[in-house]
């Protein structure tokens, strides 16, 4: 058993070393263009996005853990980024013949995309992070987007002729009832257990189509207490275009701080029509996101250096004026 473990670790090390080599050979940098003023965060087809250089990021099927994806269905994702010094936005674009944005029936799975950043300085060598190597994941979901665009999706959206004459306990309204409004009283939610316990998938109020998550390894993905990532996805002519946006500054210690000129970043895409969900996905290796306007001087953020320089000049001026004043008093013999 021990030999088997050692062999597995050795194989993993060789695999990862190989990954690094491959990554080093292809363009691995995405530039977030500094563009003062409001960012185009609501329309993924806004011409302003053409100002950002597009990088085609190759994806591979997830095969590190079970369940795994056996057959790749989305080979690349096109990435662009803009920032205005305060906020950053990334645009992910990929080809998908079907828009899968309902998850009511058993066999329905959503289209989705995610961006992953390491939270600390250290680059996790395994996807989903590891113990002591927290990662911050922004996960956009097509069904959450539809909830926002068209109202919370449920049975009547999948089964237009759905009818039910009675629900127990505090449900208001008349058959076949409206969800979620007729189920708003706490006692009416006793059978809507996911909603009652606050599971983010079940709570019908959707502040954002993008879930802000953290992870420290396979199976540890967790909804963050603070949800700070916004976005919008639109499917048009067989392609998804999805915007992710957040302030550059980290809102909490579980989020990636993007006030840096170079940030490692990785991507993943799910094709719902291929029953892809969770670990059944395609993903990229780590890329470098170079954020214009966050360059550092002597290892310090550019604006911090500016403030320090201004402060230094100010202090110097006060000192010079004071010295002159003292010298004048001394010369006058006071």
């Amino acid at each position: 058993m021990r030999w088997l473990t050692l062999a597995a670790i050795a194989a993993l090390a060789v695999f990862l070393a190989g990954q690094r080599v491959v990554l080093a050979q292809q363009p691995t940098e995405i530039v977030s263009v500094l563009r003062p003023g409001p960012l185009p965060v609501t329309d993924p087809f806004d011409p302003a996005w053409d100002e950002a250089p597009a990088v085609d990021v190759p994806l591979g099927p997830q095969a590190m853990t079970i369940p795994s994806l056996l057959k790749l269905s989305v080979p690349t994702v096109r990435v662009r980024s803009l920032n205005n010094g305060d906020q950053i936005a990334l645009l992910l674009e990929w080809a998908d013949d079907t828009r899968d944005d309902l998850t009511v029936a058993d066999q329905q799975f959503r289209d989705a995309a995610a961006i992953q950043f390491p939270v600390g300085q250290e680059l996790p060598n395994i996807c989903m992070g590891a113990a002591g190597q927290l990662v911050n994941i922004w996960h956009w979901k097509a069904d959450w987007q539809r909830d926002i665009d068209q109202g919370f999706q449920e049975l009547v959206n999948q089964y237009p002729n759905f009818f039910k004459d009675f629900y127990p306990g505090g449900v208001t309204g008349t058959p076949p009832f409206t969800y979620p409004t007729d189920f708003d009283r706490p006692e009416a939610r006793q059978f809507q257990v996911g909603w009652a316990v606050g599971n983010p998938f079940s709570v019908p109020q959707r502040p954002s189509p993008v879930e802000d998550l953290k992870a420290i390894g396979f199976g540890s993905l967790t909804h963050k207490d603070r949800q700070e990532v916004g976005g919008r996805g639109v499917w048009r002519d067989g392609r998804w275009r999805v915007i992710f946006t957040r302030k550059l500054a980290a809102p909490d210690s579980e989020s990636a701080d993007l006030r840096r000129d170079q940030v490692p970043v990785a991507f993943a895409v799910w094709n719902g029509a291929n029953q892809e969900v969770g670990a059944r996905k395609q993903l990229s290796g780590f890329y470098t996101l170079r954020i214009q306007g966050q360059e550092r001087i002597l290892g310090l953020p550019r604006n911090l250096v500016g403030w320090l320089a201004a402060g230094f000049i100010g202090v110097l001026a006060v000192v010079v004026v004071t010295l002159r004043f003292l010298r004048r008093r001394a010369a006058a013999g006071i």
């Binding site: 369940p67 795994s68 629900y167 006793q190 996911g194 316990v197 606050g198 029953q275 969900v277 670990a279």
Partner: protein, 375 residues
């Protein structure tokens, strides 16, 4: 992959986690022979737990007619066909379990049902009638029999749902072995539903996460049997804490039926989950069919069950079924009665081994009415 011992197939097998038995294990015995498929269990469960929006298709407890009924559609025959030939040598299973037959990239062999598969819970109900006078119009493999199969989650010792969840959102409770889905951690991946061979995981399209039978744990914690057991009008069910065969307690009613008299058998033991719901097989069904469902001990179980009238202890436990809503830890037969006790040894119930018969005149002079026959 770790290896665990599964006594129901009498051998070690592969399972993603090492064995971690709970302090005690929730179990039940259902006597198929006594079921009339009235679905009172089904509705008791439905009313208690699955009356919400998105739970319309859910029957954590269901009763289906065999051989043609199934819910979800063809849950058993689809998997049996995927699994291929299932061979036994004596009490030892020599075929593959669903873990050993797992395809690449999955922990277990399985399939994900679709919404239409959940749309007909009563399909095949009461089908296959007796041959009418003059013979059957056409020939089918099963000429004259059917039986009812009562199904809840098996709260398996080696659950496939738990093994398949990549987030460990499913857990087996240390205190009673009940298998639950953490409703705060579930993200609706449906890996559990794909893996559960009994298809007792239900996706809720409104809350977008999965749900399952909770073994009425709030009742179990109070020393009460689940709703499906206590509402059974045919008194076909009894719950208990089951032990492994080497630690069987002859005074424990479930141990007695499973390990001592061996009349109660696991459903599809070859799947490899070491289930904790046991069935007394129907005595009138061809044992060739039953051997596929309940394993190689079927013939002996039926033989023993048929002799119950001459076996006071076996008769006693069968009479205890449905006799109390309390959880019976021990039983004893003394004289013409069977006694059920709780874990502190307090008497919960006493039942006569033979139901007394009272004969009264058809016409009641005092009330000037005619009586009907009642039982």
């Amino acid at each position: 992959m770790p290896r665990v011992f599964n006594w129901q197939i009498n051998r070690e097998m592969e399972y993603p986690y090492p064995a971690s038995p709970p302090e005690r294990q929730f179990a039940a015995v259902f006597d198929i022979n006594k079921c009339i498929a009235c679905q009172t269990c089904t509705l008791a469960c439905k009313q208690a737990w699955t009356s919400g929006r998105g739970q319309e298709h859910m029957f954590w407890n269901n009763v289906e007619t065999k051989p043609y009924g199934s819910y979800p559609l063809a849950w058993d025959v689809r998997l049996l066909e995927m699994l291929g030939p299932q061979t036994w040598e004596g009490d030892t299973y020599t075929g593959k379990t669903i873990f050993e037959a797992a395809p690449p990239g999955q922990v277990a062999l399985g399939f994900l049902p679709e919404d239409v598969d959940w749309a007909h819970p009563g399909l095949g109900e009461d089908e296959v009638y007796g041959v009418v006078e003059g013979g059957a119009y056409f020939g089918i493999p099963h000429q004259v029999w059917f039986f009812y199969l009562q199904r809840i989650c098996n709260h398996c010792t080696y659950p496939a749902c738990l093994a398949a969840c990549p987030r460990k959102a499913i857990y087996k409770r240390k205190e009673d072995g009940i298998v639950l889905i953490d409703q705060t951690r579930c993200r609706g991946y449906r890996e559990c539903e794909r893996a559960c061979p009994y298809k007792k995981i239900f996706y809720n399209g409104v809350t977008r996460i999965s749900e399952k039978c909770i073994a009425c744990f709030p009742r179990v914690e109070q020393g009460l049997q689940p709703f499906c057991t206590v509402n059974c009008i045919g008194r076909i069910r009894i719950n208990g804490w089951i032990h492994t065969p080497d630690k069987a307690d002859p005074e424990n009613p479930v141990d007695f039926l499973v390990h001592i008299r061996k009349v109660a058998l696991p459903l599809y033991p070859q799947f490899g989950l070491q289930v904790n719901i046991y069935y007394i097989p129907p005595i009138h069904v061809p044992t060739k069919f039953l051997r596929q469902m309940f394993g190689p001990r079927v013939d002996k179980a039926i033989e023993t069950y048929r002799k119950a009238p001459e076996d006071p202890e076996l008769k006693g436990v069968l009479m205890l079924m449905g006799a109390t809503e309390r959880w019976v830890d021990k039983f004893r037969v003394q004289g013409d009665y069977v006694y059920g006790y709780d874990e502190r040894g307090n008497e919960l119930v006493r039942v006569p081994l033979k139901e007394p018969i009272y004969l009264r005149p058809v016409y009641d002079r005092q009330f000037t009415v005619y009586r009907h026959n009642i039982t």
